[in-house]
């Protein structure tokens, strides 16, 4: 029998706060996590700002040995998973009815770069035996499964910046079709380092604006690229039946998931937004909803010239006249682009209006762009009674994913 799926636990690590309360408070305030890079000397790089996670001490919550055996991305994931489990009232599953789908854009790239240097400097005999288990992109999913004895369905879908929204969507489907009662889902990313900055900068994807208080400005006329961020978002999903039985707090119901591919170019979005338009319409159809029922869209909103324009175009195609009544905001204006973790962290941002009746703003918004002419909730949070929200993520490779979430009516 097809199961309804609800969200009952949240864990988040971001540059504006760790834990849902601090994160939501930061979003409402319009806090910015973007600052000059401090984890390494960026002076010879074309971009010297990012949204780094500071004051992160994984050994305090995971123990020294566990923390030592994890790449930073998996440390983020494990700490966020612990928050989500505690928030959802879970200790350990010890069950095949619980699974884990946690992803990342690139996984343990810090470990890869460190060990590559050791290989060249000291030779192959000195490459750590932990290199492979720390680097693999499924390390976070695996470690969470081990920690919580979740022996059921498990994977790590890698679709660049759509990865963790695909992870949540896939986990939703696993519960919906009855393969699990519980799923831990989300994503983590820790890839702020010279080689990624250089790579993204050379593709002209990063903002060259050196002012941390201006660079990430989604939908603004003067946007010129994204700002790299890091962190993790982990959600506890379960069947509604399971959640009701144990009287768990329900943040939202997931009512539809859809995914598509632009099949156009490895990095540039399809200028007509065909696959995105189809995907959102497909999700609405699966949810049995009319476009007019959507109140709020947490956009992908990267702050690149192309994404924000084409994303706006696709929303107009899907929602028609209703597009002008939609509230739309970009979490990336505050925490930068978390790549593979973006979809999950932003899903937690998308729950804010359902929980607190407040929509977070798109900050750093100064000049309207004639091509981006919708309501992006500029600079100040707004109070709003919201029932239905749409979260979208788009990744290099043309990957698209979206979720429709709804307030729990009970």
């Amino acid at each position: 029998m097809e199961q309804n799926v609800v969200i009952t636990g949240l864990g988040v690590i971001s540059s504006i706060g760790a834990g849902k309360e601090a994160f939501w408070d930061g979003l409402i305030r319009g806090a910015s996590g973007v600052a000059p890079i401090i984890s390494f000397d960026p002076s010879d790089l074309p971009v010297r700002i990012a949204a780094e996670v500071q004051d992160f001490h994984p050994e305090q919550s995971l123990g020294l040995r566990a923390a030592q055996r994890l790449d930073r991305f998996a440390q983020f994931a494990m700490v966020a998973a612990k928050m989500a489990a505690e928030d959802g009232g879970i200790d350990v599953f010890d069950s095949e009815e619980a699974g884990v789908i946690v992803s990342s854009g690139v996984g343990g790239i810090l470990t890869l770069v460190d060990q590559e240097e050791i290989l060249h400097r000291k030779g192959p005999d000195r490459v750590s035996p932990f290199f492979v288990p720390m680097m693999i992109v499924n390390a976070a999913a695996a470690q969470i499964a081990i920690q919580y004895k979740a022996r059921g369905y498990s994977s790590a879908p890698v679709t660049a910046c759509a990865s963790s929204l695909n992870a949540i969507g896939d986990a939703y489907e696993v519960i919906r079709r009855g393969d699990a009662r519980w799923m831990i889902a989300g994503g983590a990313e820790a890839s702020i380092l010279p080689i990624t900055i250089a790579g993204f900068a050379n593709m002209k994807a990063l903002s060259r604006n050196s002012d941390p208080d201006q660079a990430s400005r989604p939908f603004d006329r003067d946007r010129d690229g994204f700002v790299l961020g890091e962190g993790a978002g982990i959600l506890l999903l379960e069947s509604e039946e399971n959640a009701r039985r144990r009287n768990a707090h329900i943040y939202a119901r997931i009512v539809a998931y859809a995914s598509s591919n632009d099949a156009y170019n490895i990095v540039a979005p399809d200028p007509e937004g065909r696959a995105v338009t189809w995907m959102i319409l497909r999700a609405l159809e699966k949810a049995g909803m009319r476009p007019e029922e959507v109140d709020y869209v947490n956009a992908h909103g990267t702050s690149t010239p192309l994404n924000d324009r084409i994303e706006t175009l696709a929303l107009k195609k899907v929602f028609g006249d209703h597009a002008r009544r939609l509230r739309i905001s970009s979490t990336k204006s505050m925490i930068g682009h978390l790549l593979g973790a973006a979809g999950a962290v932003e899903t937690i941002a998308t729950l804010l209006p359902l929980e607190r009746g407040i929509i977070h703003p798109t900050i750093h918004y100064v000049h309207p762009d004639p091509d981006c002419d919708l309501d992006y909730v500029p600079n100040r949070a707004v109070d709003a009674r919201v029932n239905t929200v749409l979260k979208t993520s788009y990744g290099f490779g043309g990957h698209n994913a979206c979720l429709i979430l709804q307030r729990d009516a009970h």
Partner: protein
Amino acid sequence: MNDQEFYDRLKKVVSARLAVPEEQIRLESRYAEDLGADSLTVVDLAMALEEEFQCKIFDSDLDQIKTVADTLAYLRSHLSA
């Protein structure tokens, strides 16, 4: 280098690689049972010891090194050789 200095250096490496406080490490401590090391941790420890003591620990010898005392004896005999 006297025995105490040698032992202290060994303990420092074991403590760092196994993430165990030095106070918990004794001569008779077994890596797997007492200090919670898995097979990769033992390989990692051997590599760190090779660096610290500028020696070679052969993979085929790892099976004989079960305790801190075994390690001390192994290093002693291979360093003086």
